[in-house]
Amino acid sequence: METSQALKNTDAAQILEINFGPQHPSTHGVFRMTVQLEGEKICGLKPVFGYLHRNHEQIAENLPYAAIMAYTDRLDYVNALANNFGYAITIEKLAGLEVPERAEYVRVIMAELARVVNHITVIGFMLNDLGAFFTPLLYAFRERERILDLFEEITGSRLMNNFFRFGGVKRDLTGANLAAIQKIVSKFPAFLKEFEDLLTKNEILCMRCQNIGILSAETATNAGLTGPVLRASGVNYDIRKVDSYSIYDRFDFKIPLGKKGDVYDRYYVRILEIRESLKILDQALAKIPQGEIMNKKALPFLKMPRNFKPPVGEAYGRVESPKGELGFYVVSDGTPQPWRYHVRAPSLINLTILEEMCLGQKIADAIVTLGSIDIVLGETDR
């Protein structure tokens, strides 16, 4: 901000202020940024959001707890399962519900598949912004389609899954489902290798991405960033390890870290994270036990959601969504509806640091930087 102010005062005539969006294809939805340009150089950038505000929190405060689950799908619509996961564990914390063993495994398997879907999608779209027009995106979508077909088979919907319930999951994974997941998991490394052959060492990609949009570890931590954007800056912070919610402490996986915190690191951290997710999936598929998928105590509430009244109190539940720390804060006053419901959306908080990343760079780089943060406007604006 200071830089832009100083420049504005000295040579105001030289500065051109333009609006990117809200309907620009590079802004990933209805997002606007006001960019101040000096020639081609960015000397100020202000993100403006709120175009997709749908009153999510207020709507939720007027709904029974179970009905909110369907609305959480619409937060981050690229990976609805992570949102379901976050909301479910918050309410379980609030009501003190246990989750059966098998349901925990089903949850982890679904959430990790959603992470794979999210990461390949965002890499594809980031490269679209870069000008690698649709070739990487189509390869990514080809693989994504297989997983989405599987989601449709298991949950009933490709994107708006609405799959988790308090104390379990909606439907059990059949043997055929598990075999299909195993097939996808075993085939995925071959695709990743192909994807990396296409991109990782590509000189054009390296030139456009390396040393662009650098974010130091200190700035990233101070701004409260989470997720791959923070880890690309070299900060080892992953809620799956820090909190080890659900059963993540039982799996052996690493947290990939970047060095410089530029756009290339953010791309590469995501590729590595897909590999780690596949590792978790492999272990989960090998270890998944037989048993119940719903807590017996929670079963009656499936038929009578309005009878579900958590005790008076508050709870904050968080999960490592593919975009960062997704948190739900719910206050209960003993009625069937939450008294207060708040979402800590990772996209929104990651977006606030956009100006720091873009200052002093060319305008074309700002678009790639925005793409590398991985925002979904459904979650940002809620």
Binding site: E153, G156, E194, D197, P305
Partner: protein
């Protein structure tokens, strides 16, 4: 290899390989997988859920729905509207006189299907619900929503047979516990 341009070359090899192999590989293995809708149709997935419909057993008059209004109350978007039928004396007839679903509001979450205690509302597979006029077909009435059990069996065989079995068992149990009232001899 550290020759400048080698990475680009390797990428080109990948795209060329994808282009060439797409002609003779199977759709599942990376071949061309375009489906020429509407002449061809993709595989139907049983669990797929779209807008809800009402099941009737033999004739459209014999709807399973008893107009209890649970789905109406639990629907997150409040897109269901039910009015119970009354007979001439004004007594409720345990049948819906009006059953409307607002397709503009429904978000296909499947909550109604889950809460229904009478196995009467289920999620459909019909996705071709467009109309030539903008406001046409937004609100679906009872007549369009009622579909036979045969149709339900066709689109979701596993679930439908499970539901049928459950209903049959419940009926038998009911018959066993409550003996039918003795028929009066005609005078």
């Amino acid at each position: 290899m550290n020759v400048f341009g080698w990475g680009v070359f390797k990428g080109m090899v990948v795209t060329f390989k994808n282009f060439a192999t797409s002609y003779f590989r199977k759709p599942d293995e990376g071949g061309i997988f375009t489906v020429q809708y509407p002449e061809e149709r993709g595989r139907e997935i049983e669990n797929f859920r779209n807008f809800p419909f009402l099941v009737y057993d033999e004739t459209p008059e014999k709807l399973r729905c008893v107009a209890c209004g649970i789905c109406e109350r639990e629907c997150p978007t409040k897109c269901i509207h039910i009015e119970m039928e009354t007979d001439a004396a004004g007594k409720p007839a345990r049948k819906p006189a009006v059953f409307d679903i607002d397709y503009g509001l429904c978000m296909n979450c499947g909550m109604c299907e889950e809460v229904c205690p009478f196995d009467s509302i289920f999620m459909d597979h019909a996705f071709e619900v467009t109309a030539p006029e903008r406001s046409e077909g937004l609100i679906r009435h009872k007549k369009e929503l009622s579909k036979s059990n045969g149709y339900f069996q066709k689109i979701r065989p596993a679930l439908a047979s499970a539901v049928d079995q459950k209903r049959k068992a419940a009926e038998e149990k009911k018959r066993a516990t409550v003996p039918p009232p003795a028929t009066q001899e005609p005078k």
